[in-house]
Amino acid sequence: MSTGNTTRSDRAALYGYLVAFDKVDELLVAAAAVRDAGYTRWDAHTPFVIHGLDVAMGVKKTVLPYIVFLAGLTGAAAGILLQWWTNAVDYPFLISGKPLFSLPANIPVAFETTILFAAISALVGMLALNGLPQLSHPLFSNRSFKRVTDDRFFISIEAQDPLFEVAKTRELLESVSDQPVEEIEELS
């Protein structure tokens, strides 16, 4: 549809290319090809979890576990501090003859605050690392992309990718899929 005479600035900016696949195996092969070509700003879109896709895409290990672990430690410390301060320092309160600050009694609360901090940081950290929440996305304007929640698998490569070249990237995607490569426009 685009001819050599039209320049990019005539139309909305290009977000990237999108291509569809019918089968998981095709997607995995294509993902490996895109990975090997060295692209970094691209994604695979599927209706369900596909084992082995992470490897095929070359997804790096997430830092989320470390965030959660640190948050958990913080939670444990916070729980202990809270009980120490409220029960033993600020308002000393003697319960059934136990020492004012006794660890066994504090463990259930510390356990709960550990879980609370870890769980909240897992959720918030996951959202932040994924750049969520996002009100819309350029891909949502594509009609065929709607089947991503049903029975189609997709790969999109962003124009922002340092390796992205209009012709070369299109060629790569055409070589891995027998379906047409579609242009996706940036949100206006």
Partner: protein, 403 residues
């Protein structure tokens, strides 16, 4: 959706050449262990009593591995698990060892008079608490119960093993359904029998004391012990060329995750038991922990908290060790040792308050039983393929990947 299943037509699935040297090692271990501990016990005053006590520790420890394995096999059928099919035969062989444990229970029964204070009728006459429990805690009913437990466990383990082996030949998927239908009610029976066995074998060492969570504690210890030895066994088989391709790093990873989870579960149960007793502060309950918090046993208690919980927690929390078979096998071996210390801590303070008299006798007894136990597992494994050949979920297990 899974990746492509591995082709395992050329996989080594029989122990063949490995069996003989392994059995010789086990035989040597058993001979040194049994002979050495008997010699050592005969030579010292009260030695036979000490041997009997440490025998109960090792007995309860190896029983816990078998019961953990039985639980694992039941659980895989209950949940229709796909990932574990390729390792299930090994677990079945471990579970089958409950028959061996039934034989090894004989010394415990013969030594009952020394091990269990409640067998003493004269003591019961002066002790209203013992007299009140006489209807349950008496030698003949104890023996009847032990026989019942071992029959329940043995029949379940044999049924699951035999049916799976029958499937190797017939390939009938109906057999899988049959094992699944069997496993759900089997799990209920397992839970009840394990609880009562823990009460009988370990909790009744102090017949005055009671803790309703004690059975769950032994259950947690069992599952941890099984999950700890499993990577070690798989690694041992793989370095000898067996199951080399079929068992992948993904299966190790899952054992690592389960071991991590059940280590936390063990700590959770241990603490639940401790905290309620500590908080209520009732003399008839606290005496049990008091024994384990005085003298040298304080150190053993601390070793358990750090060695059996904190260290394994930190080791297994990241993916690093879980995805490295050798490291996971080593970690598992270490955790298994702490499981043994855990049972030592349950049993020995009853006989040796204040003094954690750990010594050569304990090591020899553990080694000896290890030799016998391992030989029985190897023998059971050698008689059939180590893969559940025609299980309908074998493909799924071979292609398994952690998300």
């Amino acid at each position: 959706m899974q990746g492509n299943a591995l082709d395992i037509t050329t996989e080594t699935r029989h122990l063949d050449g490995v069996l003989r040297p392994a059995l010789i090692v086990c035989g040597v271990l058993a001979t040194i262990g049994i002979g050495g501990s008997l010699l050592l016990a005969k030579g010292s005053e009260g030695g036979m009593d000490h041997l009997l006590e440490t025998y109960l520790v090792s007995f309860a420890f190896f029983l816990s591995i078998s019961l953990g394995a039985l639980f694992f096999v039941l659980l895989q059928h209950c949940t229709r698990a796909g990932w574990s099919v390729v390792v299930r035969r090994v677990a079945e062989a471990l579970a089958g060892n409950v028959w061996l444990m039934a034989v090894l229970a004989i010394p415990v029964v013969l030594g009952m008079d020394h091990l269990y204070h409640w067998t003493d009728a004269a003591a019961a006459a002066h002790d209203p608490l013992l007299a009140g429990k006489l209807g349950f805690l008496n030698p003949s009913f104890f023996i009847v119960r032990l026989i019942a437990y071992f029959i329940i466990w043995g029949v379940m383990a044999s049924f699951l093993h035999r049916t799976s082996i029958a499937q190797d030949k017939s390939g009938d998927p109906g057999l899988t359904l049959r094992m699944e239908r069997f496993s759900a009610p089997g799990m209920v029976l397992f839970a009840l029998s394990l609880n009562f066995a823990a009460f009988d074998l370990l909790m009744s060492l102090d017949p005055h004391w009671f803790s309703t969570i004690f059975g769950v504690y032994y259950f947690a210890a069992s599952v941890v012990a099984f999950l700890a030895v499993m990577p070690k066994i798989l690694y041992g088989l793989q370095t000898r060329g067996i199951l080399k391709n079929a068992v992948t790093v993904e299966h190790y990873h899952d054992f690592g995750k389960l071991l991590f989870g059940f280590t936390v579960f063990w700590a959770y149960i241990a603490f639940s038991q401790y905290m309620l007793i500590w908080y209520a502060n009732l003399p008839e309950e606290t005496e049990w922990f008091l024994k384990r918090q005085t003298g040298e046993w304080t150190t053993v208690s601390l070793i358990l908290i750090f060695g059996h919980f904190v260290v394994p927690f930190l080791l297994l929390v990241s993916r690093f060790i879980k995805r490295r078979p050798l490291l996971l096998a080593l970690t598992g071996g270490y955790v298994a040792l702490t499981c043994w210390v855990d049972i030592y801590w349950l049993v020995i303070p009853e006989f040796s308050p204040g003094v954690a008299r750990f010594g050569l006798l304990d090591i020899l007894c553990l080694l000896g039983m290890n030799g016998v136990f391992s030989a029985a597992v190897l023998f059971r494994l050698s008689r059939h393929s180590v893969i559940a050949e025609k299980d309908p979920r074998l493909e799924e297990s071979l292609a398994f990947e952690n998300a």
